[in-house]
């Protein structure tokens, strides 16, 4: 750092760049944070006119109290929690078992499985056939319609498989020589050895299920099964853009709902940050 702040003539351009670069980064940080801080501040502000202040004029938790006390808001929240927990376990089951089989180098027919996945990545039937399919499967208007279609993500499967392939063959072979079945090897040796991978994929699944809104809009008509994201859309976007505005919600409540929808992600964020850089790198190797 010190040697970069050299004021000698040849370094003036460099110095200018360093200052410019720090200023630009500071600007980017501000542009990233101000929208979030503004929403947070307004959610804690009881006035109707926020102005351009980033500090609440009449600090109050009233909006959050309304979320907790209103069934129409905490019910979607609990649906989100439920689907996220159940969905993550279901997704981890599908992803780890599938990925473990795909990681077996000597498995006859592995190529067919790989092509099956590539085919699915390459060509999608589209929204309407997928809808008809969910209908035919008989899970329309149930939470399975939002849990199952996301249970196996191609990206997660490939990521998990790459993790498993890093486990030395000698480890699993030793277990097999001791008479362990593939299930036992998988459950007692492979999974405990893959904790960082499980954490990475698990966190991805949690975020995906929590943030999901698409599957609810397409596959669920029963509004008592809507999650918090759908509720947030109804409260802020449909209201603001006037497409089907039924109820006018207070601004503070709208802001508080946005913050509430972010909370699980914010809580998990330190862990996400710890794991995702590793995850994205591994994913990049094998695309």
């Amino acid at each position: 750092m010190i040697d970069k702040l050299d004021f000698s003539k040849g370094n003036r351009g460099r110095l200018f760049f360093v200052i410019f670069n720090y200023a630009l980064m500071a600007l980017i940080i501000a542009l990233m944070l101000i929208p979030l801080l503004k929403v947070l501040s307004d959610s804690l502000d009881n006035t109707a006119f926020y102005g351009i202040s980033l500090i609440p004029k009449q600090p109050s938790l009233a909006a959050y109290e309304r979320i907790i006390s209103s069934a129409s808001l905490y019910r979607p929240f609990m649906i989100s929690v439920y689907v996220t927990i159940v969905g993550t376990f279901v997704a981890m089951f599908f992803t780890t078992t599938g990925a473990y089989v795909m990681s077996q180098k000597g498995l006859p027919g592995r190529g067919i499985f790989i092509w099956m996945i590539l085919g699915a990545m390459l060509f999608q039937a589209g929204m309407i056939p997928a809808y008809m399919n969910i209908k035919r499967l008989g899970i329309m208007n149930t939470l399975w319609a939002v849990i199952l279609p996301m249970a196996l993500r191609n990206y997660n499967l490939i990521l998990m498989r790459n993790f498993f392939m890093e486990i030395p063959d000698s480890v699993t072979e030793a277990a097999e020589i001791d008479g362990a079945s593939p299930f036992q090897t998988f459950w007692r040796i492979v999974l405990p050895m893959s904790k960082p991978a499980l954490a990475t994929i698990g966190l991805f699944c949690i975020v995906e299920y929590w943030n999901d809104f698409f599957h609810y809009v397409i596959y669920i008509n029963d509004s008592s099964l809507y999650n918090f994201q759908v509720k947030l859309r109804e409260m802020v976007l449909q209201d603001d853009y006037g497409s089907s505005s039924v109820v006018v919600y207070g601004r503070s409540l709208q802001n508080a709902t946005i913050i509430t929808a972010m909370i699980p992600v914010l809580i998990l964020y330190p862990f996400l940050q710890k794991y995702f850089v590793k995850g994205i790198n591994l994913g990049a190797i094998k695309g």
């Binding site: 980064m25 109707a48 351009i52 999608q124 309407i128 947030l232 802020v236 994205i280």
Partner: protein, 311 residues
């Protein structure tokens, strides 16, 4: 792959294969969940594509009409608008998205490791994990004409408030900016990883040879991330047309002329009242074919340029 397709099948080879399959039989059992998933949720829907070629009465019989649905698409003004918008919006987000990722990664790479860099990364990566509903809601609040901060600033300086999200003039630009806000940091990670892998000795050697920072960037840094750029481009092209969520959450009838994309048009055709399910299926199929062609073409180009395919 090669061993089990070895033809002609002589007996010993066959027996060996059967032995290997027996050895792995429990692995096939373990694959059943994944297999069922792919059949039920990825391959069974393909059957529904036949609707694109049928006239579909609500109760009456359906009859085969061949490519008639596709013909009527080509004369449908709504479809052509959505097609045009898809191309424009997708290429804007692809080009500006990748440019901002690369430039941000290059600049952040110049910041020495330390608290400031860590803080910047923490802040900039965060929006990627927020849902599109949350991001669209945040900006709906900020851009709102009656109390949004942007319009408060405009009013503060004596201007008249602008209803940004229903304006055909502003919508696309804001859509791209909001995409950048969400994705700039996350998209940069992969380049930062590639940049971290560059041997520092290269820079030292270049500096001794008298190459300035700009020259070093041009001759060392950019070639170092070239492969990554290509890989990311290919992966992005595969999903570039999938813009349903952000568009659906941010558009409204007033901006259909500039914002309606193939996905949202399909949605309205299929699910809104007065829709046309078989036409919607045809639109979806049309998009799927284009997506597949994009992937195959870029995969072919990757083979040509990089000497390896991504598939």
């Amino acid at each position: 792959m090669a061993t089990e397709l070895n033809l002609p099948l002589n007996k010993s080879n066959n027996a060996r294969l059967i032995n290997r399959i027996k050895k792995y039989k429990l692995f096939y059992v373990m694959f059943i969940p994944a297999l069922l998933f792919y059949i039920a949720f990825e391959y069974m829907p393909l059957w529904g594509l036949k609707m694109a070629f049928y006239e579909w009465g609500l109760f009456g019989p359906k009859y085969f009409i061949g490519f008639k649905n596709f013909e009527s698409l080509l004369t449908s003004k709504l479809f052509l608008t959505s097609f045009k918008n898809t191309i424009i919006i997708s290429s804007y987000t692809l080009v500006f998205g990748m440019l901002s990722n690369i430039i941000f990664a290059l600049l952040l790479n110049e910041i020495p490791n330390g608290l400031f860099k860590k803080f910047t990364q923490t802040v900039v990566y965060l929006p990627h994990f927020l849902s599109w509903v949350v991001v669209a809601s945040i900006f709906a609040m900020l851009l709102s004409p009656d109390s949004g901060i942007i319009n408060e600033i405009i009013k503060h300086y004596g201007g008249t408030p602008i209803y940004f999200m229903i304006s055909n003039k502003w919508w696309r630009g804001l859509f791209v900016l909001i995409n950048l806000w969400k994705g700039m940091g996350w998209g940069a990670i992969i380049y930062l990883a590639a940049l971290a892998g560059v041997d520092p000795q290269l820079y030292e050697a270049a500096a001794i040879d008298g190459a300035g920072k700009l020259k070093q960037t041009w001759h060392i840094t950019l070639p170092a991330i070239q492969g990554t750029v290509l890989t990311v481009l290919i992966l992005n092209l595969a999903k570039v047309l999938n813009v349903f969520q952000p568009v659906f959450l941010m558009y409204n009838p007033q901006v259909y002329p500039v914002a309606d994309v193939i996905d949202t048009y399909t949605y309205r055709l299929g699910f809104a009242s007065g829709g046309d399910v078989d036409l919607a299926t045809a639109v979806g199929l049309f998009k799927s074919v284009i997506c597949m062609m994009l992937v195959l073409i870029t995969n072919f180009l990757s083979k040509k340029i990089k000497g390896e395919s991504i598939l």
